[in-house]
Amino acid sequence: MITWIQQPAAIKVGNDLVYLPHFEQSLTTPFIRKVYTAEERAYCDRFRDSTLRYASTFAAKEAVYKAVKQWDSSLTLSWNKIAISRERIAGKPSVCLLVDQEPPVDISLSITHDGDYVWAVALLSARSTTSTQLNA
């Protein structure tokens, strides 16, 4: 069980760059099972270019992982516990951390791609220091 320790208010950033030709070779069924939630798989598989969607979702997950690590280096989130969703097809991405205790943070995401590369940036802002300490 994860215990979210209240940190001083802060903004942290994480980003990830995915090279599509390599990603395509790594994207096997065991890889998909390990990394993606059922909802993410359903979303990515709706597209003819599903590899691009899997890559952008992966980049977003990794960007979030790095931002969270910057905020609290003792936390290690599993890939499938960082759930990326879109408000609509190809719409604004958002993230939900599938953990026991909701962390006192807000995370904003941006994903882009051009040619062989997909890039995602996550901006994490910790809520005020006066909010409740969350213990497991």
Binding site: H22, Q25, P30, F31, K34, V35, F58, T76, L77, S78
Partner: protein
Amino acid sequence: MIEATELAQLKAIVRESVFEEDLEIHPTDHLVTDLGLDSMGYVDLTVKIELTFGIAISDKAIRAVATFQDLVHLITQTKTNG
């Protein structure tokens, strides 16, 4: 310890995960800074190790691995402890 054939298999897996088939690998090589493993490579490496060695490796455990010898140690420990 893992056997010599398994060590060779592991090196082959690392080479595949970093897309460098002729890469020389030494025990103290850092997976990221020396061997060029990236975030996607960590997943690829984990999946291939699990399939090859018939073990399960947690995301947390693989993320904690720094050097090639750490990786060998993780596999040895996982095989021993189940």
